[in-house]
Symmetry: C2
Subunit: 362 residues, 2 copies
């Protein structure tokens, strides 16, 4: 027993399908008042639900927003997804989800799938990469997106634009000032401190990571400090943990006698920072006494972590929302939404050690 159709409703109401359509979905005036009620009633009694596929086919638009993330369980992406979802709700659309593991070819597939479903727009979150091995994948992805745009689709990419993507119509980028913010964080951290800085970064070629590293180094430089060592590892908690272990060894080794500066560790995202902190702790080191740790993103779920993590707040939800609404066209706010900004937040994890202040909570 398939769902009832518009035709059935029309028949029951004693009108033509066209009329029924106008009453139930169309936009133009339908003052048939008497007839309109009959149709509505018929629809109601039949439990009529319009077939979105058919509607979409007829007017070639689907009311779908495609969202591509690396992993929906990652709090970073989950927060963005929430923003996208909210925007979608406002636009009376639904979001179609695709998760790739950052692999460009898998992203390409997702774009093709969205294109097949005639998604009205696509939001791509998750960092772009410039690694040589991804070059081909990136090119194909760019081509796929380009085709999608040429067919009238709207794309908005969060962070960096797709490598090799021509600035086509309907192609937007929501810029996140990773570099500037990282620089800002570095200068804040460099102020009135005397410590060695180390950066725990993701794999080379990951834009988000590279931008943050570059920015941090720049900030250090502008504060007259030497460049920090950079440890490359996975862009995950596990990666942070691994790096943390190495750093713990380094700290422990330099303990005896030598007047050592405290280590200040900047992990390019919060999750890595937490991993690094866990590693230090597992080696009996304490934060911020033995080392300072800072992250990036200000993930909500991690805010109760102790010692409270210094980080850079990013309005993730707003980023997602903006990406989704920008792709919807310049409808609402012609002025365009305001650029994304972040904010350095210094908390306990990078406090200068005051031996006595045990209870100071950020």
């Amino acid at each position: 027993m398939a769902a009832s159709t518009l035709t059935e409703v029309a028949r029951l109401a004693g009108v033509s399908p066209a009329t029924a359509s106008r009453v139930l979905n169309g936009s133009a005036r339908i003052p048939g008042k008497d007839i309109a009620d009959r149709v509505r009633q018929a629809a109601e009694s039949l439990g009529y639900i319009p077939n979105a596929q058919a509607q979409g086919l007829a007017k070639s638009s689907s009311g779908l927003i495609g969202l591509i993330v690396h992993d929906i369980a990652d709090p970073y992406f989950a927060a963005i997804a929430r923003g996208v979802q909210e925007a979608a709700r406002e636009q009376h659309k639904m979001v179609l989800l695709a998760t790739t593991v950052g692999a460009p070819d898998s992203e390409k597939e997702a774009v093709a799938a969205f294109a097949a479903r005639r998604a009205d727009s696509i939001v791509i979150a998750g960092s772009r990469t410039s690694r040589a091995e991804d070059l081909e994948g990136n090119t194909e992805l760019a081509a796929e997106l380009d085709r999608y745009c040429r067919n009238g689709g709207h794309v908005s990419v969060i962070g960096h634009g797709i490598v090799g993507a021509a600035a086509a119509d309907g192609y937007h980028v929501v810029n996140v000032p990773n570099e500037e913010l990282a620089a800002h964080l570095a200068t804040e951290l460099a102020t009135s401190r005397e410590e060695d800085f180390v950066i725990v970064g993701g794999p080379e070629g990951l834009f988000t990571s590279d931008d943050r590293i570059r920015g941090f180094q720049r900030g250090l430089a502008s504060a007259g400090l030497p460049a920090a060592d950079v440890i490359r590892t996975d862009f995950t908690r596990a990666g942070g943990f691994e790096a943390g272990l190495a750093l713990a060894a380094r700290i422990t080794a330099s303990q005896p006698g030598t007047e050592t500066k405290r280590l200040c560790i900047f992990a390019v995202n919060d999750v890595m920072a937490i991993g690094a902190a866990a590693a230090l702790r597992s080696q009996g080191l304490r934060i911020p006494r033995d080392a300072a740790v800072a992250g990036f993103d200000d993930i909500e779920t991690l805010r109760d972590f102790r010692p409270a993590l210094s980080t850079v707040h990013l309005p993730l939800e707003e980023i997602g929302r903006q990406a989704a609404s920008r792709a919807a066209g310049p409808s609402a706010d012609d002025a365009g939404s305001p650029p994304i900004t972040g904010q350095v937040i210094l908390r306990r994890s990078t406090e200068v050690a005051h031996p006595t202040s045990a209870e100071s909570v950020a």
Copy 2:
């Protein structure tokens, strides 16, 4: 410039649309070898992407899985979503996301929207409620689901079944043994301890919460202990925090002289537990010294929280995956997937206070 169609491909290849369809999508044999290649090449050169809407309309099935959650940014739901997403990928389907704030009527809308899109199946996560004020909403939701099922849809609900939903065809429930596990947690906690138990629960009528409360009380009873006080609050971190504040006052008040037992707080989910812990800490109390805290769910992102939180591990991802594949029909594993089980995990937050063990990490 709209995307190219199958007809165009067919024309370019000099064959009929039907043939082209068979080559590009159909399943039956298409050994036209020579012709098949021509078609494929034509498709390639035109950048042909099948229109899923049209395909869906023609074969009345959409390749879509609808997922309903309260909030995709909540790590609990995000983890489930990951599981659903994985199952979807295996089924070569895509997931359509809808977030409700737990409001039955909003869930009803989501179901209708999924039905409109002819989703092949729907997964509903997020706790069911039995509050009087939700009765009407629940009934409508049940009706909507029932209709959806009658039209051939498959539904699987995580946790409790929808209140008032008749066991229709295609309606499945993925049971989560909340009560048993909570009971188990209680008995573990009750062993060799002498403390007062308090439960921080969600609003009355929330099945997930109520089940866990009931189970915990049962466990306490079977250990010969009196029932614990129950504090009702929001099913969120903020709720946990609020309750934690009240409890902190209670603890502080009873400090002087009176031989007081330590308080053991069971929050019905991890996020609430974290909130409660934060509240205690904000009042200068320490865990587990001044109070023990336990949660439920074993949220991954929270595992680095210190003191490590005792909790009940739930295979969230597997739950999502199972829900999605069960709804896909008894295709893969006829034996049906194994029932969901959890596991009590005792960590630092409920350790019996050993004044000297400062570095014992769970």
